[in-house]
């Protein structure tokens, strides 16, 4: 009881002190107002040492002892300033986080840039333990030499489909002497889209018209029907490389794609509503996810229908991403979807 009360009070104190603020887009400058600093355990022990040295010097009237005491005290003060300066005036930026499937780990990549002339050492970057006491991910320790940038990839467990907001990041340092801990918080505007985990046991792909053709498996769309202009999303393996090579892009040439016909007959249609309603929504989403991956693996063009979204048959990474994202965000409140870029 008392423990949970303490924990609650602690969490409230933390949220008041460190103001979990709004998300910060773009590059963030570590202004001195953002930096916290406190003596750590070693620092408290050092303060006790200073007291002992002072008392010893007074009691035995050691002139040189006073000198040593004050020198040690001044070293403590200098260490405080240097620890603060080891963290202050850095620039933080998050890069785009690649989408992941539920159950995987998202890799949130953070970029720490040092535009000062001082090397920075031993900066520990982590997602701090949340108020619930759950530690998230592993801390990474980096050095940032003067005028350079260092990247940190923090692993973030993606349990559920949807949009995963990267938690607040803490950057912490005890350098150079380890007597003080200086830290700052940063809420990067970094989201990960978490696709539904694909169904473990794949169901057969739903083929429009000729459901028995499944065993054929191979490219059924091999009737070459001519060349058209490249459109974003065309699979690489359909590029008309011979034509492209003849044209100079700088002189107004465009990319070309081979067009196939006949494949349309085998079109795969992935329609959410065709799945039995008795199945759980998540299971249906999982199955759709598996089908998208399967169709993509086999390079089958597939039409995709989910809620209001209806995509014509297509194929390629962009098509796949659109489908998977739709699956990830299906049925979630629009506020969370809006956060996704």
């Amino acid at each position: 009881m008392a423990g949970s009360l303490m924990k609650g009070a602690r969490a409230r104190a933390q949220s008041w002190l460190f103001r979990p603020g709004k998300l910060e887009a773009g590059e963030v400058f570590l202004h001195r107002r953002r930096i916290y600093i406190l003596p750590n355990k070693a620092g408290v022990a050092f303060a006790l040492l200073l007291l002992v040295l002072l008392i010893g010097s007074i009691n035995y009237t050691l002139g040189l002892g006073f000198g040593l005491t004050f020198l040690a005290g001044a070293i403590g003060v200098v260490d405080m300033v240097l620890t603060y300066r080891n963290l202050a005036h850095l620039y933080l930026r998050s890069t785009r986080v690649p989408d992941v499937f539920a159950g995987e780990e998202a890799r949130v990549e953070l970029l720490v840039t040092n535009r000062s002339r001082r090397d920075r050492f031993a900066l520990r970057v982590d997602f701090p333990t949340s108020a619930a006491g759950k530690s998230q991910g592993i801390a990474h320790t980096i050095d940032v030499p003067a005028g350079e940038s260092s990247a940190v990839r923090l692993a973030l467990a993606a349990d559920k489909r949807g949009v995963l907001q990267a938690p607040r990041v803490r950057i912490l340092t005890r350098f150079p002497l380890g007597l003080f801990t200086s830290w700052c918080y940063w809420a990067p505007d970094a989201q990960v889209i978490v696709y539904p985990a694909p169904e473990a046991v794949p169901a057969p792909l739903p083929m429009a018209g000729r459901p028995g053709d499944l065993a054929g498996g191979g490219p059924g769309n091999d009737d070459f029907a001519g060349i058209r202009n490249y459109q974003p999303g065309d699979p690489l393996r359909h590029m008309a490389w011979r034509q492209i090579a003849r044209l100079d892009l700088k002189l107004g040439g465009t990319l070309a794609t081979k067009q196939f016909e006949g494949g349309a007959r085998h079109d795969v249609v992935l329609d959410f509503h065709q799945l039995p309603a008795s199945l759980d929504v998540e299971l249906r989403l999982a199955r759709m996810t598996r089908w998208v991956l399967e169709a993509e693996r086999r390079a089958l063009p597939y039409a995709f229908r989910l809620g209001a979204l209806s995509l014509a048959a297509g194929n390629g990474p962009a098509h796949q991403a659109t489908c998977l994202r739709a699956l990830a965000l299906f049925g979630l409140p629009p506020s969370t979807q809006g956060a996704a870029r």
């Binding site: 590059e27 400058f29 202004h31 001195r32 355990k41 070693a42 022990a45 050092f46 040492l49 002992v52 040295l53 008392i55 010893g56 007074i58 009691n59 035995y60 009237t61 050691l62 002139g63 040189l64 002892g65 006073f66 000198g67 040593l68 004050f70 020198l71 040690a72 005290g73 001044a74 070293i75 003060v77 200098v78 260490d79 300033v81 240097l82 202050a88 620039y91 890069t95 785009r96 690649p98 990549e109 970029l111 840039t113 535009r115 050492f121 031993a122 520990r124 320790t141 980096i142 050095d143 350079e148 940038s149 990247a151 350098f175 150079p176 002497l177 380890g178 892009l249 700088k250 107004g252």
Partner: protein, 671 residues
Amino acid sequence: MTGLRALLRGVSVMSRDKSDTLLLLGSTLLVLIPHSLHLPVWVSLLCLATLSWRALITLGGRRMPSSILVLPLAGAAMLGVLQTYHTILGKDPGVAMLVMLVAFKMLEMHARRDLFVVVFLCFFLTLTNFFYSQTIGMGLMTGLAVLALLTTQLSFQYAGRVPPLRRRVGTAAMVLALAAPLALVMFVVFPRVQGPLWGMPSDARASRTGLSDDMSPGNVSSLAQSEAVVFRAHFNGATPEQPRLYWRAIVLGHFDGRTWTRTAAGTPNGSPGAPVLALRGPALHYDITLEPLNTRWLYALDMPRRAPDLGANPARMSPEVELSSAAAVDMRLRYDAVSYLDYTYQGGTDLPDAARWLQLPPGANPRTLAAGQALVQQGDPLARVQTVLRRFRSEPFVYTLEPPLLGANPVDQFLFGTRAGFCEHYSSAFVVLMRAAGVPARVVTGYQGGETNPVDGYLTVRQSDAHAWAEVWLSQRGWVRVDPTAAVAPERIQRSLASAIPPRAPFGIDGLGELINFSTNRDGWLAQLRYHLSAVNNGWNQWVLNYTPDRQRNLVRSLTTGLFNWRSAGLLAASALLLWSAYLLRVRRRSDPIDALYSALCKRLAQQGAPRRLDEGPTAYAARLASANFPPARHQAIAAFLRHYSAYRYGPGAPAPHLYTTMKSLLAQCR
């Protein structure tokens, strides 16, 4: 030297843990070395062995000894301390225990926390060094030890790349250099409290040799061998010439045939509470910095006006004009004094307590007594004094540091037998003769002379300047100082002891004396060096070791009147404001240099007639520029530049190395 360098190179390639541990061992050794000067040899050797063991474990990559082995060893060592000191309380055994604690801690270091334990213990051990020595050399050694400790502490803090040792020492030195001014300010202004805070163990301060409260043949001459400083004096004005520098300390009135002691502490009836002094001539103002000798005696030039003001430890002046403090002086003490070289002390026709100064042990030294009584025939006491002095001068008396041993009736033996002695022999014999002749007389001990340092003007008085002379009371003239030694060896008084006694050849080698003993030669470069060292040392004592609450108050007072008036306060505030705003300006946010290059490119292209539209990103801009009418080289440069830029801005991962220089050169090609 090359071996050391090879070792350092070896350290630099070895694993992080190993080199850090060796660094810690090295700095611990640096802290422990000065302790070996006072620790029992076995403790030093044991520590050295323990540290070497730890070093071997580290170098060989072996496992640490188990605590089953270490704990009994440590216990045995503690027992050894008990055996050596017969106690575990007190300063010396405490320091010995602490030293061994650090050494054994090395054998069971596991966590990072242990590093802090060792480093902090080392800081404390450095302080305990000052119980034994606080010289400049020790100060420098301490600075070195602190630098090593900082380097060690720093080395343990690196997480990724560890710079070479030289850079780490540089960083530690920078920390030290930044800390030094702050430490200096704290040293000057941090409120000082007069110690001790509680009763100290009795062995806190070792007693040292110095003048004792009694005098028997041999105990002043034993001091003559010691070059230890007793006090330093600084005169406001010219220093009086050497023969007038009689630093008075103790008056001895009771003689038991061999040893002189002070007369009974309780003042006999008739003795006035304060000396009757008539002082004349110019007052000499000077200050004295007394070394801690753990005695109550204070020194002043014959004849001081009054007891100096010592604040918490009040000083008093006895009727015999002996200055003493209430408690023994166990730390360096500085006091102001005023003396007059010209005086009449207890002048008048009558000496109320004359019996005290005529006391002689019955039966002892009969020949001397007889000789003294023979003097009575010369009516005038002054004539009796002169007769004795003439005798000392004319008969073959020898002034020597190594007089022959004297048996029973030592004064008889000295006056009529050996005729060789030091000042205590002469003063003692003189006073006995005077008393036998009915002239009140007494022995005064103290110091005579001193050495003026031409560098800082301080006069240094050493134990070797210890001296004993006599005072006789003459009607009307009062107590008059008579120095029988001056009759025998005038150069002792005129110059110094060294000039009065031929130097003995050190180690029995003739000529070596001239090489080593440069103290009499004031012009040699060695002497000059010695004077400079002595001046530096004195400054160190005055300002570092003896920076007392009193001194601090005076300094702060002079600072506040001289520095902190309105104008300078305003000036200070203005300059502080200026510095602060300069700092704020300096740390203002710097724009991304790559962004700056991008805007430079856009500006340049706009001048060339292809401005970027507001809604265009780098990729769209690049696509549009592809159709612009530029030479191919420029096309390529622009395309590459924009590709780099969009990868930097929007792509994943850390920027490519040398991105800035690459983009800058591309920008240069875009003209």
